[in-house]
């Protein structure tokens, strides 16, 4: 009996006081002692986060995880990728199953304020669009009156879709699926006339279709979808690390620091480059990293532009133009605060 009571009390104590311990040591220290970063990524969206036949993950969102791993461990491979569906992603992050979420997640006010999460920036500016079969012969989303539309549930897409048809006073039928794969399969089999998700996703999912050229993306972009990495509330250092890893990749591109010219750049006399690469100042230490953190990121992953072209741009199957995602100096929206 006594043994039972003490065991029960131990369980109760663990239940009551668990969580307290977690808040005391920062996430960075935990990641370091674990020797691995745990990153929540998409379950398979070409260009953003997808595993190949050997289980190696690649993509724009995956590169951010690799960049953080490179900054912390000087090794881009110390990441454990956890594929998460749209439906499960926030719960997984809230409950501490992943250290950060880097998977096509739209930054909205309610997500930023009521989910106990913080968005750490925007690594891809996107907007929602529609894909239809060419043979339907329509050229505008406004001609979708009465159509059946397939979408993935638990997304801003689901809400924008309702907004768009409501605002334009059009009738439609929504068919919502839990996973992206089921959604595109249902569209392909003819259950729906149109498939909707973020424009980048449309191009990526189109590659999965039997004959991609039979389908067109309609010109309307019906929403703003700033996609970015997300972390939990309460650990500002960790938020800084994720935020500045993204900014570092942008600053590297802006200053022309690439994987190939990194060694020359280390000898550069340009004070901005010197601060970026840690040959001047102690900016890395301020966030608990080493001063050569950006060198590690660029060496292993590259700058933002390199990552973009490799995963979704000209050097990929997707061939998405930089557009809004060009640097601000080139007419785009990607703008990083300076390192100084």
């Amino acid at each position: 009996m006594n043994r039972f009571v003490s065991a029960a009390l131990a369980v109760a104590a663990t239940a009551a006081f668990a969580g307290g311990a977690q808040a005391q040591t920062g996430l960075l220290a935990q990641v370091k002692s674990r020797g691995q970063l745990i990153c929540g990524v998409g379950p398979g969206l070409a260009g953003f986060g997808i595993p190949d036949a050997q289980g190696n993950w690649s993509g724009l969102d995956v590169d951010l995880c690799r960049a953080i791993s490179a900054a912390v461990f000087n090794d881009p491979a110390k990441v454990k990728f956890i594929p998460l569906s749209s439906k499960d992603r926030f719960t997984a992050l809230q409950s501490g199953e992943v250290d950060l979420l880097s998977r096509n997640t739209t930054w909205t006010m309610s997500r930023d304020t009521s989910l106990g999460l913080n968005f750490a920036g925007v690594n891809y500016y996107d907007g929602q669009g529609f894909m239809v079969r060419k043979k339907l012969g329509i050229d505008s989303a406004l001609k979708l009156a009465g159509a059946s539309v397939c979408t993935q549930q638990g997304t801003t897409t689901e809400l924008n879709l309702a907004d768009f048809f409501r605002a334009n006073k059009l009738k439609y039928e929504v068919v919502a699926f839990a996973s992206a794969d089921e959604t595109i399969k249902a569209y392909e089999s003819g259950r729906c006339d149109a498939f909707t998700t973020d424009a980048s996703g449309l191009y990526a999912e189109r590659l999965k279709l039997g004959v991609p050229t039979d389908h067109i993306v309609l010109p309307e972009i019906i929403s703003k979808e700033p996609l970015g990495p997300v972390v939990r509330h309460g650990d500002d250092t960790w938020l800084d690390i994720v935020k500045w890893t993204h900014f570092a990749m942008l600053n590297a591109e802006e200053l022309g620091v690439t994987k190939t010219n990194l060694d020359e750049m280390l000898k550069s006399e340009n004070p901005e480059i010197k601060r970026l690469l840690g040959t001047e100042g102690k900016f890395g230490e301020a966030v608990g990293l080493s001063n050569d953190w950006v060198v590690r990121i660029v060496k292993h992953v590259g700058n933002y532009g390199e990552s973009f072209e490799r995963n979704v741009g000209a050097n990929s199957l997707l061939k998405i133009a930089r557009g809004q995602n060009a640097l601000w100096t080139k007419g785009g929206l990607q703008y990083a605060p300076p390192i100084r």
Binding site: F17, K87, S110, S114, G116, A147, E173, A178, G190
Partner: protein
Amino acid sequence: MTTIPTEPVQPGKASLLYDPKIRGYVYQLALLAVVGFLIYSAASNAIENLRAQKIASGFGFWHNAAGFDVNQKLIPFSASGSTYGQAFWVGLLNTLLVASIGIVLATFLGFFVGVARLSSNWILAKIAMVYVEVIRNLPLLLQLFFWYNAVLKPLPNPRQSIELPAGILLNNRGLYLPDPQLEPGGSLIVLTFLLGLVGAITFRYWARKQQEATGKQYPVGWIALGLVVVLPFFVYLLMGRPITFIYPELAGFNLRGGIQIFPEFVALLVGLTTYTAAFIAEVVRAGILAVSKGQSEAAHALGLRPGATLKLVVIPQAMRVIIPPLTSNYLNLTKNSSLAVAIGYPDLVQVFTGTVLNQTGQAVEVVAITMAVYLTISLVTSLFMNIYNKRMALVER
């Protein structure tokens, strides 16, 4: 020598500590306290952690605007103005719809297959056996994918709908039935039908009493058919056919008008029904085999035909064995309906723990509500089945 009379020591009076009754209470109370403390600390820990992480908590979201749409809804629901609370009811009703229809169909199919397995007709018995063994041994999720993808999706698009008799159309957006509209006088038909139904039930009750009292049998089936079907039909003709139908027709991408039965619903219903029926068939078979052979032999000796033997002698006795496991199968069917999420049928789990949970981010509350709902549905089902079981139980004299 005098002896000092020693009174026998009463064990209870000596020390409360050694009273087994009191000790029992103390242990019970201690256990209760530990369990209560565990629940309390888990709940308060959860609340505190949610607060510390600034995650919204509480049930205030119930009245917030939902902002999404659902295709199959039994109550009005739209993105403009409906709340998360209404989304909950939409999902719950869809769950109850598929579960209740599924339970009825699975019971009929299960009884038929169960009896067929014991049939003396060799082919029928073997077909029933193959059905049970195949369906019972494949995962339900796989079967749902099969019904949804392999059977329903190859149907033509709305422009090439398959035309079935009576204006029914079938395509990959679902089954479209003509929508009956009541003209003036049409309500009389509905009234006649309802009266006929009440009449048929009353007559059946009366006929049974008569049979118990006098042994005289009445053709209950024919009279019920007359009251429920033929009589309303006469009224229909008499009133000058006051029911018209709106037939589904092609308009734009989809069919317009008519009643649309969604393919997701059909796939889920067919999947759940066939799967559960296989289990019910085995339960029924076990129940029938549990009735001793002497019973049917005695019935045959009395001159009852095989059908009557089954209906009047075997099944009533088998029911006592069948009902408890049948209840579990009903509960399983209801709980399995949550697999709807895989094929896009908007049931409670899909709408509420799917979309609502994700849009509000309040996992703890949403999941707790959903669990409470399934628990309630299951307990209510059990309650009714237990009442039925009591009525069917052997009355011992």
